[in-house]
């Protein structure tokens, strides 16, 4: 089994509307946007709902459970797996699959949320086989 080499991700650069998202990541939470009027969830979270003109947006934590919607292992450099994970709440989120056998990844595989420290220390949400 070939373990994922440690790839330290570059740090995200928050903007004024995402400071809460990245603070929550430091507390081990992956936040989704939820429309208080309609209940619809979106990702990445933003202060204005992408679906409906009505309703304030609140931020709610994901369970952190999901399945791989699709993925690709980049071979041109130190291998790493980029993926979209479908959360059990619905939204499909871009991420990396880490601490895994890159050759054994498959669509539909169950994964769970983990956090990986980026270059500047900010934890970034990623997933690993459940």
């Amino acid at each position: 089994m070939s373990e994922t080499p440690v790839r330290v991700p570059p740090s995200p650069v928050p903007d004024p509307s995402t400071l809460g998202f990245w603070q929550a990541a430091r507390e081990g939470k992956l936040l989704l946007g939820r429309n208080l009027e309609t209940g619809r969830l979106h990702y990445p979270p933003r202060p204005v709902c992408p679906f409906d003109d009505v309703g304030e947006v609140e931020y709610v934590p994901s369970s952190g459970r999901g399945t791989i919607y699709t993925f690709s292992v980049m071979r041109a450099k130190t291998p790493y797996a980029i993926a979209y994970v479908e959360l059990e709440e619905g939204p499909r989120v871009m991420t990396n699959i880490v601490d895994c056998d890159l050759e054994a990844l498959r669509i539909g595989q169950a994964v769970r949320l983990v956090f990986v420290d980026s270059e500047g220390g900010q934890p970034v949400p990623m997933f690993t086989p459940a």
Partner: protein, 390 residues
Amino acid sequence: MSLRGVACIAGAYEHPTRKAENKSTAQLHAEVAIGALRDAGLTRADVDGYFCAGDAPGMGPLSMADYLGLNRLRHVDSTDIGGSSYLLHVAHAAEAIALGRCDVALITLAGRPRSEGVATGTAPRAGSPAQPDVQFEYPYGAAVANLYAMCAMRHRHEFGTTAEQLAWIKVAASHHAQHNEHAMLRKVVTVEEVVNSPLVADPLHRLDCCVISDGGGALVVTRPEIARGLKRPVVTLRGAGEAVKHQMGGQLDLTYTGARFSGARAFEEAGVTPADIKYASIYDSFTITVLLQLEDLGFCEKGQGGRFVADGNLISGVGRLPFNTDGGGLCNNHPANRGGMTKVIEAVRQLRGEAHPAVQVPNCDLALAHGTGGTIGTRHGSATLVLERE
């Protein structure tokens, strides 16, 4: 109001360079501008509309009009939807001409990523922090190749599309490129060579990817009355469509592209169906790009793209749908990492009967050109043109 018949492509020019170490990007824009105007039998003094996109240096039409010496402009448009911008520009030029906003529109594209050593496909790009998606994508190593690869992976999962089927797209392009003296990759390749080339990003191999090249191209769009007075075959816009597709707040579906919408709009306006098309220029940043777009444009059912492209079906003189007879982005060139301009240019060559004799489609009177810009793995623009020979 319909765009059908309101404008013609009177001039088209593709820069012969594939590596322009000693030329500036602005210079390449100027050289293709002159080339397209000369092809049409017009001059810069005739140009009153100018179109460019993000590859144009400086402040788009301002910097370029100054550099090019365009002094009669009364309409400009720098809409940027990546590599598909130039197909959209043809449609927007037709709109402007129909409204009387300009008579002779010039569209230019040029760039030199090869000379600048840009690792186009495999290097994640940081972008601007103000771009709202960057902080949710850059940390994950999102690059062009692995974003398209994720679409191929999902397509394989849902429809059983094989690496060999995708490889046929490259094989067809290489059959065409062998006749193009300017093409970067002129060697005819086999399915085995494609699938045995190194993996770049699963499941895409090196030969599933387009080339990285310098170069450029330009188009001249004008009203039919002017086009008919020029000494060139008349190529008329019959229908056009554009669309934007994105992640939809987390409800993304990577099994289709915006071509589903832009194509339907273009076919409806043109009053024709995919079965009527004699030649198709299909954006080919990767083999999977072609496969998805062929399905979405309606050349085959969703999920059947793999079967459709296999066994040489895209090879001129062999298959049912000759595509990218210049060798396309997969073998010929991909100037400025934006392949939309050359898609239109080869369609114009086919309609004029000026493609290489070995790949010219007999009696080619109806063609389609389609572009995708951005990345289908996140957000992209789609633009479709249906063109006819008068």
